[in-house]
Amino acid sequence: MEVFNKIAIANRGEVAVRIIRACQELGIETVLLHSEVDVNSIAYRMADETVCIGPAVTAESYLNIEANVQGAKSMGADAVHPGFGFLSENADFAKAVEDAGMVFIGPSPESIQLFGDKISAKKLVEKAGGPVIPGYQGEDQSLHRLLKEVEAIGYPCIVKAAAGGGGRGLKVIRKKEEAKEAIASAQREGLSAFGSDQVFLEKYLDQAKHIEMQIFGDAGGTIYCLGERECSIQRRHQKIIEEALSPALDEMLRQEMMDVAKKIATAAKYKGAGTIEFLLQKQEFFFLEMNTRLQVEHPVTEFVCGVDLVKAQILTAQGLSLGWQQEFTFHGHAIECRLYAEDPYQMGLPSTGRLGSCMWPHGPGRRFEVGFAPGDEITSFYDSMIAKVIVWDETRPRAIKKMRETLKQTVVFGVKTNIPFLLKILEHPEFVSGEMTTKFIESHFAKALKAPGVTDDVQKIIEDLYQKTGDSKVTEANTKMKEPNPFESSWERS
């Protein structure tokens, strides 16, 4: 076993805070690798030590391998935790950390590479007996062959530039007549954007749920599966609400999917936290991708399994076995809502600015993962997620109710948040029934929410009251003294 005295955190925001807490509880010192602007954050104030690794622009700071490795090394860190996003799934970074004599808290660079490549990942899954989305990614790119493959896959089918990530060069073919033009178009886009007209074909699942299995390989080589999360509530491939477990799976299907997930992780000799994403349509599931890192939505799994995934990651990196129960018993239901700094009445337009007072209404089964405190600046350089609200209760209906109440009592001043949008989703019949698919947002919330608009009366009352109670200059300090806020935990202001 290797003992860590100091861990460097190559990330920011709420996940950096999450990792620092885990380190504190394990008695490990922390050094935060941060950009110039992120001195205004909770993680900066909480970390034992800090090193600036570059300017606000991510390419020069959070995505800069050399700066991160040097920063960690110069402070004498034994290990580096990459969090999620940024360099967390970058095999070169994992290797650079190891080459510098530190431990990368995550899977091996080989595992990251294996799952990072869509084709090698698919091959491994097929070898492990996992179902993959029917498709074609062969060398023969003749139109004749591609059209034949489209026929074999069936409709709807997607054609996509093989070289690109995300949705670039992706076309949906709904019927035979559309195939030729869609292929030509994807080839053109691929050629102009990535310099390659190579395309691949895939069955298009248009009524699918996003179900992902949390797996964990400990240092002793044991592979655990901690059940699933459902993340069907997405907007532009960005998850908004996640829950564990999924209301769509019965015991049999769950067991089957868990077995497949375990087989995939075992075949890769996987170590650390990982998530295997599937699309589930009409009781049929298909491998989507494997994320070789901690997920944003890991707290819902922690709630229903009773584990601490971040501490488990650190212990695993130190060479310790976890000794978890081989088969998890799941307790109750957990839901996570991501709080984005955006205007819910303008289709989620980012809202930036200095954060004013906040109230996080703590209570049983309520967890807040917050990265910024009053006075901190929310800038346009990074993802707009400023916090996560996670609740647990005995059943799904109770958890939904608890989430609604929690969000209604949550106050964030200074930047607009998506709370009104989240509340609308939480009361939508399709969400409540558990039948939602990944098309939920675009089918039900294609248009911006209508702003409620404060009445003139209420506006007048607020202004009058403000006038009566004194000067317009409200400092944080005297607000606190006059009206102590029982909801605020001490760390949020530390």
Binding site: R236, A341, Q346, G348, L349, P350, S351, T352, G353, R354, G356, S357, M359, S380, F381, Y382, D383, S384, L407, K408, Q409, V411, V412, F413, G414, K416, T417, I419, P420, L423, P452, V454, V458, Q459, I461, I462, E463, L465, Y466, Q467, T469, S472, V474, T479, E483, N485
Partner: protein
């Protein structure tokens, strides 16, 4: 932040209020809102939001990644003139009127601040209608 209990339609409700940068923010009945106060307890500056539909302004700070029009172009209502990027997301800025592009004040790649004018469109019906 100030906190009061109000009685609205016979129902007691807590309200939280805070003034930030000249605006009053409030939280009432599960909803957060913000407005520009009119009284002297307001900002004191009458920085009204741009309401001219012919002026495309940056709704947030960010980077201009694409300009889809040039001076002299005839545009129709709903047409996307500029694509901006902020917080890793792209946003299309659309024009609300028909008209001709009179001025394009920035280039692709430029960083713009909140409320900065990017494109000016001259309405095709005469200007008097706009206001």
């Amino acid at each position: 932040m100030k906190e009061w209990t109000l009685e609205i339609n016979g129902k007691k409700q807590k309200i939280f209020v805070e003034k930030l940068g000249g605006k009053l923010w409030y939280h009432l009945n599960g909803e957060t809102g913000t407005f520009q106060p009119e009284s002297k307890y307001g900002s004191g500056q009458s920085a009204k939001a741009n309401t001219d539909p012919g002026v495309i302004v940056a709704p947030m700070p960010g980077k201009i990644i694409k300009i889809n029009c040039q001076k002299g172009d005839v545009v129709t209502s709903g047409q996307s003139l500029v694509t901006m990027e902020a917080m890793k997301m792209e946003y299309a800025l659309e024009v609300d009127i028909e008209g001709t592009i009179q001025e394009v004040l920035f280039n692709e790649g430029d960083q713009v601040g909140l409320g900065q004018k990017i494109v000016v469109v001259k309405g095709s019906s005469d200007g008097s209608e706009k206001n």
